[in-house]
């Protein structure tokens, strides 16, 4: 197991180098002068323009720029934003915790509600509950996130506010903090539900179909024949096998959520990394874009590794790091 993890971590290196080269190639292709963007519609004085270009080595060939960047990166320096003279590491250190907290809330909702409804609807196949779950997940999957988010805002924040004198109104936006009149946790409710909505529906559907498939297997019939209770069969035998695709989906989804949920963050004014990276791309603020993408790559690689390791916990047949034939 340790060797497997070590090997996977070493694989990070070529992926990492590949990503940085790809990013540098892209930024030389994409039109738009990042320095001119600093002043927007107004012009930048030629002397100032030259100084900024020189300081950021933008007058050097692209491979030299890459050398500078990698050298800084190895020294833990992600560079400084062109637009804001702020260190990229500070920009992400401020925002990533918000992205992580929101992703954790959403993934918790997704796991608890998604898996639970999936199991219930598989066990009680064709019952009223099953039909209800199938129907509501179909609707949730097809509802655009931005629409659902705005609907929740309108309903809880604006419509119910007048109706109930503010009793049920929820904070519409922001991450709380000292300027909010509400407790901090309340600011998580609507964005977390919105972010979890589509994934929750997918999780429930995958869980249902996987469990139904496993329940038809011979070894389940054998388990029943042995006289085990339904609960024991489902939890000990069926669920463990049915979980693998669900874990894969949740793992990928968690990685995606931590890359910044741009739509949810924008609707709920969430100070995470998604909106920041989007803005940096439109402004050609390459240090932020590069730093953001590198952060996302590292996070996704770590989440994938954890997902892979967790397979072994659920399915005893999967063991990493052993030679073939020793299983």
């Amino acid at each position: 197991m340790v060797r497997y993890i070590l090997r996977r971590v070493l694989q990070f290196i070529p992926v990492f180098i590949g990503v940085t080269i790809l990013l540098f190639t892209l930024r030389s292709i994409v039109p738009g002068d990042p320095i001119r963007m600093i002043a927007g519609e107004k012009s930048l004085a030629p002397e100032v323009y030259e100084q900024i270009v020189e300081r950021n080595h933008l007058n050097e060939p692209i491979y030299i720029q890459y050398g500078y960047y990698m050298n800084d990166l190895l020294h833990g320096d992600l560079g400084t934003s062109y637009q804001r003279h702020t260190e990229v590491s500070k920009i992400f250190a401020d925002r990533f915790p918000y992205t992580l907290q929101l992703a954790l809330c959403a993934i918790a909702i997704e796991i608890i509600i998604g898996i639970a409804t999936g199991i219930i609807s598989a066990i009680k196949r064709y019952s009223f509950i099953d039909v209800l779950v199938t129907l509501s997940t179909s609707i949730l999957v097809s509802v655009p996130v931005f629409w659902l988010g705005m609907l929740l805002q309108m309903f809880f924040g604006i419509y119910l506010k007048d109706l109930t004198g503010g009793t049920f109104s929820l904070p519409l936006s922001g991450a709380g903090g000292p300027i909010s009149q509400f407790p901090n946790w309340m600011h998580y409710i609507l964005p977390a539900i919105t972010l979890a909505s589509v994934s929750l529906a997918f999780t429930a559907r995958i869980m249902r179909s996987q469990l139904l498939e496993v329940l038809n297997q011979d070894y389940i019939r054998t388990a029943f024949a042995k006289g085990l209770s339904k609960r024991a069969v489902i939890i000990k035998h069926a669920l463990k096998n049915a979980m693998i695709p669900v874990i894969t989906f949740i793992g990928i989804d968690f990685g995606a959520m931590m890359s910044g949920a741009i739509l949810t963050e924008t609707i709920f004014n969430w100070p995470g990394i998604g909106h920041e990276i989007y803005l940096a791309i439109t402004q050609r603020d390459w240090p932020i874009v590069m730093g953001g993408v590198i952060l996302i790559v590292v996070v996704v690689m770590i989440v994938n590794l954890i997902t892979d390791i967790s397979y072994a916990l659920f399915d005893p047949r999967i063991r990493y790091g052993k030679k073939k034939g020793s299983e």
Partner: protein, 546 residues
């Protein structure tokens, strides 16, 4: 004559004016009692680029910073006059090259340090010095005319030799060339004092929590994408704010902020496009367009900025003045304002917008919708019915409603026989193309840095100006601009710029389309809240109903 700049002063009711200083009256505004004092105002902004005057360039940071700092002078948009701010008086030399300011005695920074002439010198040098921050400031051009500017910017000098602290309260500024309007440059919110006592020694700390000399001081520091809190500065030399504090809440989109406003979590915000009529019906329209009072909460007053078409004057087709004239006559500006902006923009009849000294109605006689005159201009240029004019490219940046505007213009041009195709580019690519002169007809918005005609005439039409994107070049206009800059008498100078404006208008180098207007709304509890054409709120006078 300067009164021409005033924004419909007679229409103003119960408005305190644009100046947040100059009065020197102790606590409480006119008629202000204790009942008005107190409370925290929640104010929408989007994420600023800077709140440190070092690189203060966009509206969001300026809305915050202008309350943390006072520059030497201020401008009253109601009377159209300069008023004292950190300087109580000033003198301009005969040749308009030396400006001497007498600072107020007893003025303090938020950390208790006295405000001296040295602090102004330091604040200004900090902007020009290329080593203040990781990259040089993009706004050092404000001081481009001050003696010693080039030397400091290039790193050859350690100070701005043209700025001298004669004593603690006397500041002398020497320019390299005559520029009487420099006094208006001195009102720019970035040109304020920065404490020399070491408070600004570390750029990183100071840029997140600047210490200024304004009516409000920062509480804590700027939290990115979330908020900037400011509170009343009790040792302020001027009229002290009635509010206890202001929370500038940062939103990622105006739609977002408007939702929160409707939920009761904001006192002042932008009205998203498409919701203006509904907002006016619900919240009422301000009497003057700039002041929020209960029941009259929507602000739709003019801003000092112009939306115009940049025409490449070197283009083989568009260098023909006749074609440019025809294009200007062909555009139905009112239709654009009504259909795209719900009537919340005003058709531009000149390049200089209301609120700027020198503005007068009907300044450009070609900036009107007249299809017959458009057709006649085409015929006179030898292109009867548009015959012989190749298809023209209308370029614009995506988003912001520009596509809708350009589609209407395309149809207007088709009506006089000029074929045009749309060329939508992403913002960064659009700026590249504009800079490279690859655009035939494009669009831009010009927001005045200072409320003076020179900021339009020189910036947009002087042949060597970096913002002359239409590459207009008329030696007579160039010479007259340089001449006008030397006139010290305000009325005579404004008149000279109006004459220059006429010369420029006759060449139709660009096509003015619209003057921007506010689309903001305040809450029911907000009183005497003035939000000027320069997009700066007079927060010290505002108060909240309890």
């Amino acid at each position: 004559m300067a009164g021409a700049a005033a924004i419909g002063a007679s229409a103003l009711q119960g408005c305190g004016g644009g100046s947040s200083s100059g009065g020197g009256t102790p606590s409480g505004g006119a008629g202000g009692g204790d009942s008005k004092a107190g409370g925290t105002l929640a104010y929408y902004i989007s994420q600023p680029a800077f709140i440190d005057p070092f690189d203060l360039q966009e509206s969001e940071g300026t809305q915050v910073s202008s309350n943390l700092f006072d520059s030497l002078v201020d401008y009253d948009f109601v009377t159209g006059e300069l008023v004292p701010a950190a300087a109580e008086s000033w003198e301009i030399s005969e040749d308009a090259t030396v400006f001497t300011f007498k600072l107020r005695e007893g003025a303090k920074f938020h950390n208790g340090d006295p405000v001296t002439a040295k602090d102004f010198k330091f604040g200004w040098e900090r902007i020009v010095n290329p080593n203040t921050a990781p990259d040089p400031s993009a706004i050092s051009y404000h001081l481009g005319m001050v003696k010693g500017f080039d030397e400091l910017l290039s790193g050859g000098a350690k100070e701005l030799s043209g700025v001298v602290a004669l004593d603690d309260l006397t500041l002398e500024v020497t320019l390299t060339q005559a520029y009487a309007d420099f006094i208006f440059v001195c009102m720019h919110p970035a040109l304020c004092p920065v404490p020399t006592g070491g408070a600004a020694a570390d750029y990183k700390t100071y840029s997140r929590a600047p210490i200024g000399n304004g009516p409000f001081k920062i509480k804590g520091e700027w939290v990115d994408d979330q908020y900037i809190q400011v509170e009343r500065f009790d040792d302020y030399y001027g009229e002290k704010p009635l509010l206890d504090a202001v929370d500038f809440k940062i939103y990622q989109s105006p739609e977002n902020a408007f939702n929160d406003f409707q939920a009761g979590n904001l006192d002042f915000t932008q009205i998203p496009p498409g919701q203006i009529s509904a907002a006016v019906a619900e919240y009422g329209e301000s009497a003057d367009g700039w002041t929020v009072q209960p029941g009259k909460q929507c602000l739709l007053g003019e801003e000092s900025s112009t939306y115009y078409l940049v025409i490449n004057n070197n283009d083989p087709v568009l260098k023909d003045k006749g074609i440019r004239t025809a294009i200007s006559y062909a555009i139905n500006r009112q239709a654009i304002c009504d259909t795209v902006f719900d009537g919340t923009r005003a058709p531009a009849d000149g390049i200089i917008p209301p609120g700027i000294a020198g503005f007068h109605e009907g300044a450009w006689d070609t900036a009107v919708y007249d299809v017959e005159k458009a057709k006649a201009a085409l015929s006179a240029a030898g292109f009867e019915g548009g015959e012989g004019i190749p298809t023209i490219k209308l370029s614009f940046n995506t988003g912001g409603g520009h596509e809708d505007i350009m589609q209407l213009i395309q149809a207007d041009l088709a009506a006089i026989g000029i074929k045009a195709e749309l060329n939508a580019l992403e913002w960064a690519a659009y700026l590249d193309a504009l800079q490279a002169g690859q655009i035939q007809i494009g669009r831009l918005g010009w927001i005045a840095d200072y409320p003076i005609a020179d900021n339009f005439a020189y910036a947009l039409f002087y042949s060597e100006s970096g913002d002359n994107n239409s590459k207009y070049n008329n030696p007579a206009v160039d010479a007259k601009i340089l001449e006008a800059r030397q006139i010290t008498d305000t009325d005579a100078r404004v008149k000279a710029y109006q004459d220059i404006d006429k010369l420029i208008a006759a060449d139709v180098p660009v096509v003015p389309v619209m003057f921007y207007k506010h689309s903001r709304v305040g809450s029911q509890r907000l009183n005497d809240f003035f939000f000027g054409p320069n997009m700066i709120a007079d927060l010290p006078k505002a108060w909240l109903t309890k």
